[in-house]
Amino acid sequence: MRWLIRIRAYFLKEVREIRRQPLLLISLVAGPLLVLVLFGAGFVNSNPVLRTALILPDDLPAEMRTQITSLVGLNFKLVDRAYTPADARLALANGDLDVVQIVPDDVFGKLQRGENPTILVYSNAINPLVEGWIQYLAYAQINEINKALLTEQTRLAQQQARAVAVRITVGANRLTELERELSRAEQEAIRQELSTLRALIVQFRNAIPPENLFAGRSEDVENLRARADDALQSLDEVDAILASGDLERSLEELRDSKELLALLDQQIAIFVSIAPETIVSPVQQRYQNIRTESIGQASGAYPAVVYYAPGVLALLVQHTAVSLGALALVRERMMGAFELFRVSPANMVQLLIGKYLGYTVFIAVASAALAAAMRLLGVPLQGSWQLFALLLLLLTIASLGVGFFISAVAGSDSQAIQFAMISLLLSIFFSGFFISRDSFAAWVAPITALIPMSHGVAGFHDLMLRGITPDPEVWIDLGIIAIMTFVLVTFLTQRQFRRA
């Protein structure tokens, strides 16, 4: 009975001490809540805003200029001012611009010649995440520009193909006529018509987008150039026959030519029947978040403020517990209270249990208040509240253990505060609060696992936002941290207690 009375003594002492500091409780609940509200109200985009100068060549057609500007403007914030390449680089170096993009001259000419025109993208980024974003956004933008260019070129090629198709029909009829006996003048007239057809096919052939750009997209389009070449070759042969005037011996060749023209005609018919966008992007994507099926909303992901709320809750619990724990023992040790405790019949385990209980009650009250306030912000609790309470309790005990451990090894108040700050920094970077835990090398995993908040963030996300039971790993790791720190703190404090 006296054993319990002593635990109650420490418990009540802690509760009363904290109760006398209402500002502490208010700041612990209101502080994170206000930060969340501010975050929710102020957060507009997770992408960085990149001030960008776009330098276009003078020879770019107005329509294409508008299209490229519009595409670049999707991912980058285009500045109004016009820059020369040299000025733009200077502005980049001075920090007045984040990105400079330079589109080369003669884009279409290069495309038709099978060259790869290169858009130069410059940045002066110092933030690795921003640099990653620039590279990714530039890549996505180039894809879009490529698509636009190819679509445009394909549309042009289709227009020409339609004109060629009309001429092919006429040309085929003329070839049939050549099988009859015609005068020399008639033959010459047909030869002229076929020559015109040949010129059209050559023009069309040149308008066909390079084969490498179509590779793997459409077999019909891929073979179009070869068909055109075959048709041209046969027209040349017909022209040679007509020039020789020996038609009777070349009837077979005339029939072959007619077949090749018919083949090209078929290919063109297919080519013009396909929408240019389909030829350029044969595979489309359709995204759906399966959560929308159950919640019946257009977007399945939560707003950023809701998504980060479980992390904030885990952060509040851990940081409060670590801070309280970190100061708890070192302060009593330094003020000489250990001496008083040691003279009394109370022992160290009673002291620790009493403190654990006192702080747990306080953190539970603060967390419950914060969780309730979060509900008002629209943060859900999809899973079981019993599991939520259990996870909160386990996270609190594990975090208190870390705090008490800091307190046991710290030589002074200020050292304890420093250690608590380091643990906070470690948690923000490695717990998965902002940066995914998967982003780190495998050797970081044990460090991450030692941070209670890592498991708190994962567990609260599962319980609050997904409505599923957290992985067994969450419970096991938190349990291990709680037990390990309790044993360590008991051992270390017992030693200090003996030396008080």
């Binding site: 002492k13 009363r16 001490e17 209270a337 001496e339 019949p345």
Partner: protein, 358 residues
């Protein structure tokens, strides 16, 4: 003074050495139950270490110590429950009220709520804190904080109370009240070991131990310590005629009950005369000097020289500096009851010393 009471503390040849000349050395003393022992000495002389050894917070490197019949290193909860402790600094909690602080300490001793309530009322009245029971620790004055510490130490009704400089930094009026509390506790049968740097507080103690550099220089009743410091008691004589001074010295030195006669510096008609008991021997000394046959000296005044305890303390320290105490001397203290080992300090008296304290 010979005590027939049981001893609350028995320390025999205890040493605890922290480093070169730091720690406590060869401490031998006993503390009878129901008495107050004042440990007096300058800062850093080992008073707190002596207390911590008795509390079991430190373990001696040498010697044995028993407190309430047990080795402090192996105190059981029932031993600890009989001890109250007021540490040097205020270690109670600034955000808890007077009542809550006292309840906390009482609960550490396993007291139940109804016991606490009854005892707290009693003690708050005792130390005049009843009106401040709901005041927070941080709202208390220094004196009130000390009284609260006393309440905390007394909540579980201990038999033996250790108070480490309980009167440091508080005004003389409150100091007097504290000693009233301590003497009341002593009268209730409790034993107290109290450390202080304020030498004048020795007069409130039943026994006084003077400490210096980790060593107990002397332990005795305040009265006996005075006698030891001066080699007895001193009669301050003033003669009517300076011409009689040499004659008076000769007459007194021939008188067997006079231990020593010394001139008072810068005076041509005053003498200090050392005797066992000034009250008893003043008439005899006057008879010797005013004998009409010889020497027929007119004495203008004769009175016991009243020295403050500060003077006594300084004299004992100086005596020790002249001839440091060895282990044998300490052992002697243990063998002899307090007040019976004054011989070793009687031979170092010097007239200048006395003159310097006038």
């Amino acid at each position: 003074m010979t005590s027939t009471r049981a001893n609350a503390i028995e320390s025999h040849d205890v040493s605890l050495i922290f480093g070169e000349n730091a720690g406590v050395f060869n401490q031998t003393y006993t503390l009878p139950e129901g008495t107050i022992l004042g440990l007096i000495g300058p800062s850093g002389c080992g008073k707190t270490t002596t207390v911590r050894l008795a509390l079991g917070l430190y373990h001696p490197h040498k010697g044995t110590i028993r407190v309430l019949g047990a080795n402090p290193a192996a105190f059981r909860p029932d031993h600890q429950a009989r001890i109250g402790y007021i540490p040097q600094q205020f270690v109670l909690y600034p955000n808890l009220s007077v009542t809550e602080n006292a309840e906390f300490l009482a609960s550490l001793y396993g007291m139940r709520r109804h016991q606490i309530r009854r005892r707290l009322d009693e003690l708050l009245d005792f130390v005049d804190l009843a009106g401040a029971r709901n005041r927070l620790g941080r709202q208390l004055s220094g004196g009130m904080q000390r009284r609260l510490m006393l309440v905390g130490a007394l909540m579980h009704d201990p038999d033996l109370i250790f108070a480490d400089e309980p009167t440091a930094g508080i005004d003389p009026v409150l100091r007097g009240r504290f000693w009233d509390y301590f003497r009341t506790l002593r009268d209730q049968g409790r034993t107290l070991l109290i450390t202080t740097q304020i030498v004048s507080e020795a007069m409130y103690c039943d026994y006084v131990a003077i400490m210096r550099q980790g060593r107990l220089l002397a332990i005795d009743t305040p009265h006996n310590l005075k006698r030891r410091a001066l080699g007895g008691e001193i009669i301050h004589l003033t003669l009517a005629n300076p011409a009689d001074l040499a004659k008076a010295v000769g007459a007194l030195r021939r008188y067997p009950h006079v231990k020593e006669v010394r001139y008072v510096p810068e005076s041509d008609r005053e003498l200090y005369v050392a005797v066992d008991d000034a009250g008893d021997w003043i008439p005899e000394v006057l008879n010797v000097l005013e004998d009409p046959d010889d020497p027929n000296i007119v004495v203008e005044s004769a009175e016991e020289l009243a020295l403050t305890f500060d003077d006594v303390f300084i004299r004992i320290i100086r005596q020790w500096e002249d001839e440091p105490i060895d282990q044998t001397a300490d052992a002697m203290m243990e063998r002899e009851p307090y007040g019976q080992h004054s011989a070793r300090t009687s031979h170092t008296t010097h007239p200048d010393d006395i003159a310097s304290h006038q």
